[in-house]
Symmetry: C2
Subunit: 230 residues, 2 copies
């Protein structure tokens, strides 16, 4: 019996990677004289990955990584205009309006009648809280957990604290690496709802033939799947 539904936020409830890609495009344009977009993308991904253990997830760390990448690619001489534009990009990402993905409102409203909903997300603490507030979805959640890493112990802890343990919980999100695999490892169920874009750091293979796993076309399919298995 499923009692608790964990939900990822970025690219599961609302757009996120699209915004990162738009900002990256702006970054490529800014440095068009310095290198090709492919080179810029690769270097930025390297710097981001290297900085993850220092900055964690979120827009502030991404902004700092863009400045660092610009410095590296210009031999430490990134023009002030480039730095100003990157700062402005970061600020704009933090104030971008939040719009739930189609069908998310209705799916959550229906789920919240039968299950305890818990938001489980990485990213900057304040920014994730602000996005949830701006989305208008906050009241549907019984609890919100903003975490620095999503591994099996995270899910075991969160579903014990806010539910009846991982065996009676399902995690739903767009990242196989962060939402699906560690939730299954913790003994929970998992639903994968792909988003058209995936950050390179989050890419992983979909598990095959797992009894507690389903791939869904949208969050709207989650209630029916839970009726089936629960």
């Amino acid at each position: 019996m499923i009692t608790t539904v964990g939900l990822d936020a970025d690219d599961t409830l609302w757009h996120n990677e699209t915004l990162f890609r738009l900002t990256q495009q702006r970054f490529f344009d800014l440095l068009a004289d310095v290198a090709e977009p492919e080179t810029l993308a690769q270097r930025l991904a390297e710097v981001e990955k290297r900085n993850l253990r220092l900055y964690g997830y979120g827009v502030k760390g991404f902004t700092l990584s863009m400045i660092e990448t610009a410095m590296e690619l210009t031999g430490g001489e990134a023009p002030p205009r480039v730095v100003r534009e990157i700062l402005a990009s970061g600020r704009e990402m933090l104030t971008e309006p939040v719009e739930p993905l189609p069908g998310v409102d209705q799916a959550l409203a229906r789920l919240s009648e039968r299950y305890r909903l818990v938001l489980i997300t990485k990213g900057d603490l304040l920014h994730q809280e602000q996005k949830l507030a701006a989305s208008g979805l906050g009241d549907l959640f019984a609890a919100v957990e903003i975490v620095s890493e999503k591994d099996a112990s995270t899910y075991a802890r969160v579903f014990a604290r806010h539910g009846t343990g991982p065996a009676e919980a399902v995690m739903c999100g767009n990242s196989v690496r962060s939402d699906v695999l560690p939730a299954l490892e913790a003994g929970a169920w998992a639903a994968y709802v792909p988003y058209p874009l995936v950050w390179t750091h989050e890419q992983a293979d979909v598990p095959e033939g797992h009894l507690r796993f389903a791939q869904l076309a949208s969050l709207s399919e989650l209630p029916a799947w839970l009726d089936e298995v629960g």
Copy 2:
């Protein structure tokens, strides 16, 4: 009867503001040609305050605010070297070793025998978790809450979740504004342990004649005060 002890982290368990001040000094040196230290300090404080609602608390936001201040004070033309040095300062703050303040280990060990200890702190999620791990104090805490703001509702929620409610809890920290006043407002007890330096944003007057409040010279005095009142 007190069952739960909430503890602030930065400047209560380990040094923090000292490190911010050292970094600020380095920032003043970097921009010595541009403005006097007093002017730089004032402008940086303004930018930090303006950015709080966007960046929240912590080193990443502080780093971005230093770059923004440098840009503002140079008419948008901060030299690349200045930006690189600011980035490096931020990175160094994030990797600085963490050393508990004198007497903190023993005081927490003693408190943990009788009370449930809860760490309640603002700042960057990942960085605060890393500092707690590096301090070696993590095992003494029953729970850790990294929050975006410390107001009365925060304390009511945290002490309900991890204890037996605010009336049976005490909050201990170095900020009258963030640790003492909102905890008292929530109905909890509060102990103020001053640190020699206070960030301008955190300054506030010490409450007078409050029955559930004490000012202590160090955390070592907390067990005796709790014996007295509890």
